[in-house]
Symmetry: D2
Subunit: 386 residues, 4 copies
């Protein structure tokens, strides 16, 4: 392909959090250019934001439907967009994603993929029908050392997996922040905009995705305990889930947004018969691999001994820390490489195809629905239904 991919963004105007992150990530590798946007439901914000991003005036839209119609009518020579990136709150994921696919565009979408499990399934079917690519932004699986962890487990080096601990403690909702007008807290704790679950939807889904991704296993049974530990909050802000995996392994998932003082301490540990591994975002370029009877090993981003997946997702030599934005950029980069391969009629490499999509989206929505149901149940174990 002899040009950059052209992207339009839905949501993500000034003051939005995750939209700006998407742009930083998408810019990095110089493979994608932002050419259009419906950046806010507020027209003034949409226009001002578009200008700040140097969009051409005629491609600053105030309505995403109009944008998708207009862009779909353009030709390649007119610079028709290739894909949209949807960075709106959860309840505005499904409609634009469906429309974009129908209009022939690939889709990037923030997690959770939709507002309900049913929508997720519909979206999955639409993707299959249209043959378009969909990237779901589970950022943590974009880290090179998470890739290395998955490849190490898959190689059998640790033996059969027996135990998984995955945790995601944050502290930023330790106060009733949503009553102060803080935008992020406001919609994320509002069932109408966030969905059935609070912390479990926002960050529990990341932990769940990480556990299944690294272990290569699927959850079959759960026992969930969701809590609202800050008085006056409308959704859960803390919880734990005991899980059984499809190979007989046992897992514990913990997520909290009231772990006061914690930043964003995602961490996973997986133990097999022969050894265990540990990765935490706070030290993202290290993968600790522990063995029954020899010294633990420190795998590091950028090292020559890493596998092909870690290497493919690394930009700079060992010892130059790669961070969250690089992990995020890996999602965009692999998505872009896959779309380019499609255009060029080439089969994308396995390393490029390794980005989260509708399968992960459907399982994530199932996670939300199952944990909410389990938490309300008096029964200890319930089947994880998808």
């Amino acid at each position: 392909m002899n040009r950059k991919l052209r992207m339009a963004m839905i949501g993500g105007g000034k003051d939005a959090f995750i939209g700006a992150v998407h742009r930083l990530a998408m810019n990095m590798d110089g493979q994608v250019e932002l050419v259009a946007g419906a950046l806010s439901v507020n027209p003034d914000v949409a226009i001002e934001s578009g200008k700040m991003l140097y969009l051409q005036p005629d491609r600053i839209y105030t309505d995403y439907k109009v944008m998708l119609e207009t862009e779909a009518a353009k030709t390649e020579a007119e610079g028709r967009i290739d894909f949209v990136s949807i960075v709106t709150p959860n309840f505005v994921h499904f409609d634009p994603a469906m429309l974009a696919l129908e209009k022939g565009f690939h889709v990037v979408i923030e997690k959770p993929i939709t507002f309900t499990l049913e929508q997720a399934k519909q979206l999955q079917q639409k993707v299959q029908e249209t043959g378009k690519r969909l990237l779901l932004c589970h950022t943590y699986t974009g880290y090179p050392m998470v890739k290395q962890a998955r490849q190490l487990v898959a190689s059998g080096a640790l033996g059969k997996v027996r135990k998984i601990y995955v945790e995601y403690p944050q502290g930023w909702l330790s106060t009733l922040l949503e009553k102060t007008g803080q935008a992020q807290a406001s919609w994320r704790t509002d069932p109408k905009r966030s969905g059935k679950a609070g912390a479990m939807g926002d960050i529990g889904t990341h932990a769940f995705n990480l556990a299944e991704y690294v272990s290569g296993l699927q959850t079959t049974h759960i026992c969930a305990d969701l809590n609202t530990l800050v008085e006056g909050r409308l959704l859960d802000d803390d919880g734990a889930v005991l899980m059984k995996m499809n190979n007989g392994a046992s897992a514990v998932l913990m997520a909290s947004q009231v772990a006061a003082g914690e930043e964003n301490a995602v961490k996973i540990r997986v133990y097999g018969e022969l050894g265990g591994l540990e990765w935490k975002q706070e030290d993202a370029n290290t993968l600790l691999v522990k063995w029954l009877d020899k010294p633990a090993e420190i795998y590091r981003t950028g090292a020559g001994y890493n596998g092909s997946f870690a290497k493919h997702n690394t930009r700079i030599p060992a010892g130059h820390p790669e961070g969250y934005l690089e992990a995020f950029a890996n999602l965009y980069r692999n998505f872009a490489l896959t779309v380019q391969s499609d255009v060029d009629g080439v089969t994308p490499a396995a390393e490029c195809l390794d980005f989260p999509s509708t399968t992960e989206g459907v399982r994530g929505m199932a996670f939300i629905e199952n944990v909410v149901a389990s938490s309300q149940s008096e029964q200890k174990w319930t089947v994880f239904e998808v």
Copy 2:
């Protein structure tokens, strides 16, 4: 008191693990001397072990009952012992402890305190009747930074406690070690000698004690999941317990002996409204205190800013690591100081009295019985009954 305290040991002959640890701990401060022992049920081992420890021949016993009788008949001038230390496997705790108390001796006992909850209650009553002192060796609460953590929580600095994570992963039972003749693995996985629970009795009780000690809270409801992840094992080797505390806080307790590659990674995190704290044995001289809106702080053993409990349990200046044996020695030291105060007719300081005893023993046995029952139940939450 113008002499060292005199101790006799029951169990702990050569090749035993924990008996040797007790002696290292007890020796350190030069306040206690080992003068007698019934060190093994095997007479040859008992005698050989006694010689190795330079005991006088007439105080090397081959039967603990004979020892307790004989020592009880001695006068102070004849060097009568002050207390016994019981370091036998779990099923041989209760009888010698009861007899020792009846004979007028103070008692040190390895955890778990007895084989059943009922025994623990009887022992507690006997201690109350006799007025003797009993030390239960929950070592982890002997660390200075664990003391500091407790004092910090009690001070209210973190606000009301909301969430506790406590974990104790080990990897040494990742194989069926008990079939190889390894002595430690053999009795600890045998229901007849270890009790109803395996990992939960051996190390889960430590985690439970640590959580209640640091938080100052008590468990009211639990939801337990015990697993036997190594085929052929007779007791649980892994488990997790969701817990509700008596102030409304939520807790997660994890213990595993099949976390391959882990050594002895006890760790506790407690989060309140205003901040959280984190302590892990692998970095035992550090207490991490995290705050909502200011830099996290690193409390260190030996520092001048620590509270009276941490300071009382520290021997050397900051920067000279104190380890497991020093924590263990703190138990003995506080027990010994308390016994000496009793002898001298002085009220022991609060810092000296701060050692685990029958209350912790009864709660620990209740923990074992409750988690086993909960794990077998289909009901999610069960009341924690003592």
Copy 3:
């Protein structure tokens, strides 16, 4: 300014290391676009590289002089470039930089700024004459926590600085890699292309810059020991420098490229009368601040308590690690914001102006010349001459 800045690159064709890093960094914030390039002295490589970067064919040059002439002749409407980025080996820094300035372009330049101290001074004078901006890429000073460290020292919180330790151990030159044809090793160990110093020029200069930047002090006397520890190498691959600073403080600088197994472990510690600080690139988002008589504090990228310089150089919330590329992007971002302010006739904020330039370049070249001379001298202390 209502458009992105337009950049041309000199050097940095495919297979080059640092040019690709510059592009990743420059892309990130969407403020700059690469529109032209003379990417290699090899015309085929230059052309192929330009295509891979989606440059328009007429702006892919095979000679940087032609490029500078041609671009200088363009009008704003024709998309004339605003600045050049020079990412060639050391011996090709001076000429293109001088020419670019003469042609009216701002300049970004890799360190060390030139091949000799004399050139550095000439370049500094040319910048002053032309009034153009020059960015020298001392990346490590782009890290938010390095900014915070500097601001903390400058605030006087640590008291008068007494001692500095700065170190930069790498291991990649532990073998005679330059004999294998490895491009990076080849020119960096070649006096004709690298200059008088090897490790001291390549990484010692970074350490030197970091020490003076964080402490706010200047070196007055040095005692250097340069070593060539791998037989057959033409330049130093290891060294240490004892230094005296202009406030009486003492410093030790260590740099090695034969510290086998080390990646890129830049670290600085600064101690004042009241406390000390520690920053290391391997844990780049943490600044450890230690105090004489209270708990050490952990400053973290993204936290609300940070100063204006750290905050200005942070993109995402605390707990999402920012890495080397973000630090690098901060250099470009501050340079771009400054150039844009110039265009807009606005005084740039102090936080924007805080990027390394010719002053740092001249001092860096002086460092190289002084340490080489000192190392060859029998005299212990020599004056640091600029």
Copy 4:
């Protein structure tokens, strides 16, 4: 040997620092008993201290010469002491050590071994003449992971050693503490009691010993820079030494007592052709081993893969931290095992004999004299003379 060794202590009365540490260390293994003492030059303190340690009244001495005479006149049946432990300030090491050896006692002595190099040589000769054992308390070489480091280097696994970094930063003398009456600061900064060097004598000698012990190399040339950074102090409180080793390796030694906020952060790094190792006291049970082309390894105290020297100096299983007192106790234990072997007419095992003695003492005193001379010299490199 069928009894504990009998020890007398010279110095170490109440309020003394290092004497109490010696007793904790010596007690731990139950191989040695303290039976006599001349614990202070102040008779009242000597007597009170003896009582606190439960010494028999007739073995509480107020003059060490009287003690040595009296004890030497005792028979084995009367409980004659086997050795003395000298824990007085530096200027009172030589005389009691010489007298003790002359009276037929083995000697334990705090470092630095004597007040001058000349005394150290005399003491070495006396030890050789008498055939008695002398333990010099360089504690850091008692750590299991330091033993492992030495064994690893000696095995050739890292290839030829090229570079050593050893550092010992403390912060406790950041203020003019000696003017406040603090006892430790008072004598350690007083040339009449401490010797020619301050920080370099007190802690630089430890760093020097550690470097030579781990690397197995000897220093041949030095270039020293000693500083007095706190105004009004009489001796150096900071310094660095560039060193050349007898195999051509280069080393940097740093010691400071004004690194405000540091506790006791001894650390050593040794790099060979194939890899490097790192040990620091703050994480004393970890030895990090880094390799050119494979993951770094984490060696841990207590693990089965360690060598015979580490194993011999370990008391408890992996994961139970062993600290400073255990390292110190290893010195006493190896000394005691060696003396017992001598008594029993058995050749001590290499692992037992591995404790610092007069060779290390002489080299340590030479270090002090050489660095002071070098620091005062205008010449860069001086030969390290012993």
